[in-house]
């Protein structure tokens, strides 16, 4: 699952080092457009339903955060 997620992320923002970044939202590395694209991709790929309420910094600051979010929705 991790590889699939990283594939989605790289597809959106190829220049970002997702392996090491832990403040993707707080540091403004991912912007609102990016987030929406990523989230729609995640929903499409993993078949989960995410909503606006899930768009919190702590859910998207790092790859691990995102995996945790997806896991909670499965």
């Amino acid at each position: 699952m991790r590889e699939k997620l990283i594939e989605i992320l790289k597809d959106c923002c190829p220049d970002v080092d997702f392996e090491t970044e832990t403040s993707l939202i707080d540091d403004g590395i991912l912007e609102s457009l990016d987030i929406v694209t990523i989230v729609t991709d995640i929903m499409h790929t993993f078949g989960v339903t995410l909503s606006v309420d899930d768009l919190l910094p702590e859910n998207f600051n790092s790859v691990d955060d995102m995996l945790r979010l997806i896991g909670s929705k499965l």
Binding site: V36, T40, V52
Partner: protein, 504 residues
């Protein structure tokens, strides 16, 4: 009441005295009294609009809070009722906004009677802040405020009510009772407010003279002066708006309250998207949280998304829904500015460019690779800065010109009939500004750019100033205060000796 008057200074002085004289828990009462006095000064009748918005959104918040608590106990059965509450509240308040701000324009188009309602101070700003609160309550992110007076303070808070920043309840309201009272904050607040005053009084007011003159009588000027008029308008708008925000944030800080930033050195934006993250920031974040995200994740958008992925190959297909949502957001931003067609066009203009940049992101990056352009290099950075400035500059024709067609005409004439001779034939001195005034504008802009340049690189100018000795500090108090008092003292009209005698 304008921030830049003696009355406001007097009101602020009184507010500070009472605020710090009374115990900490009474502070917010002082702020409420001051806010209501400040608002009523503009004309007592318009305060009813404010009270209406505050009342309806306060009530909606309480209702939604009760629903949310019942949800937790009984499960999600109130979704429809919750949505209805939000919808009703939003409809009521936006109807008021529409009636006051937009009806007359629409009525004109359809030959309906006009209402000619007086625009209450800060209507767009406090309406958005209040609606944001309601939606936050709906989402369960915010527990509703029980005290109606404390809520009223949030809506009417005098530093923000006139021109923002558009505050979030969760960020602002807790500070009313837990403000950090310190000499540091008062000092910082005064320094920030003085900086804002200088920008507004020294630069914006002067630059306005040129912009106003060119746009009031465009038939007197050639294209080159249209560009100059727009340039001065850009200077005026930034110094006026950000100056006002600096005063707002500075004033709030003197009470120990931290307001969100609304400007972040927009001149250094590298793309239109970046620009909108630096200009009128709170409007952008409001749109993002309350329009863009909900729209992007709405069911209709989901359908579009699935359709696009199926039928449009590659990256484009994935990006179409965000592009569409982006377009809608900028259209709304355009409309937020005003009812005239030119604002709608402005929204479309920004929307189109933003949408295009989203759709073309892939094309841009492959072009860069092909031309072996260094993504982090200075030339590309410079190109991006210039490109962004040009895009924003053109956009300003549409917000400043009196009407949409006039804007197109002026934009066209800028290139077809520049009348460059006007640049050197003394036309510049016919606006009412002397050579000294122009020098002041230039000097002011240079100082502002220098300060922002260093801040962009991470320097904290005020912190650095803190470490200087008393004499340097005194100079940096004396000069702004002297300039401000001189401007206040000499701003009025002198009795002209030359005209006295003529009567006799």
């Amino acid at each position: 009441m304008s921030f830049f008057t003696l009355q406001f200074a007097a009101l602020l002085a009184a507010a500070l005295i009472f605020y710090y004289a009374l115990p900490k828990k009474c502070g917010w009462v002082v702020l409420l009294a001051v806010s209501l006095a400040f608002y009523a000064w503009g004309g007592v009748k318009t305060i009813f609009y404010l009270l209406f918005t505050a009342g309806t959104t306060y009530a909606s918040g309480l209702i939604l809070g009760r629903f949310n608590r019942r949800d937790a106990d009984e499960g999600k059965v109130r979704a429809a009722r919750k949505k209805l509450t939000v919808a009703a509240c939003v409809l009521l308040n936006f109807s008021v906004l529409f009636a006051v701000k937009y009806w007359d324009q629409a009525a004109g188009l359809f030959s309906l009677p006009r209402l000619s309602l007086v625009l209450p101070l800060g209507l767009s700003f406090y309406t958005f802040a209040s609606i944001g609160y309601v939606i936050d309550c709906y989402r369960g992110k915010q527990s509703p405020e029980k005290n109606p007076l404390k809520y009223l303070l949030f809506v009417s808070f005098f530093p923000t009510v006139v021109q923002g920043p558009i505050s979030r309840f969760g960020q602002l309201a807790p500070q009313f009772t837990a403000a950090e009272r310190s000499a540091d904050n008062v000092k910082r607040g005064l320094q920030t407010a003085m900086w804002g005053c200088l920008k507004k009084l020294i630069v914006a007011n002067r630059a306005a003279v040129v912009a106003d003159a060119v746009f009031a009588n465009p038939e007197n000027y050639g294209g080159a002066f249209y560009a100059i008029g727009v340039l001065f308008y850009c200077i005026q708008l930034y110094c006026d708006f950000s100056g006002g925000i600096d005063v707002a944030r500075g004033v709030a800080l003197t009470f120990g309250i931290d307001l969100t930033e609304n400007f972040k050195r927009p001149i250094f934006a590298v793309s239109l998207a970046d620009y909108w993250r630096r200009w009128h920031i709170t409007l952008g974040t409001w749109m993002r949280d309350y329009v863009f995200y909900p729209l992007s994740f709405s069911r209709p958008m989901g359908a579009i998304s699935r359709f696009a992925r199926k039928h449009v190959k590659g990256k484009a297909g994935k990006v179409i829904p965000t592009a569409a949502a982006t377009f809608v957001v900028y259209l709304l931003i355009g409309i937020w500015h005003g009812s005239s067609l030119k604002y709608i066009f402005f929204g479309l203009y920004n929307g189109a460019i933003m949408t295009a940049s989203v759709l073309l992101a892939g094309v841009y990056s492959s072009t860069r690779n092909k031309l072996k352009i260094n993504e982090k290099g200075a030339p590309l950075h410079f190109f991006r800065l210039v490109r962004t400035m040009a895009i924003v500059f053109v956009g300003r024709y549409f917000t400043r010109a009196p009407r949409l067609l006039a804007a197109f005409a002026m934009l066209g004439r800028t290139f077809t009939h520049p009348c460059l001779y006007q640049l050197t034939d003394g036309t510049a001195l016919t606006f009412g500004l002397t050579a000294f005034d122009f020098a002041v504008i230039a000097a002011g802009v240079a100082v502002i750019l220098a300060v922002e340049f260093f801040e962009e690189r991470g320097a904290k100018i005020l912190d650095a100033l803190d470490r200087k000795g008393a004499l340097v500090q005194f100079v940096f108090i004396l000069i702004p205060l002297a300039i401000i008092t001189a401007q206040a003292a000499f701003g009025g009209d002198a009795i002209d000796a030359s005209s006295i005698y003529r009567q006799f």
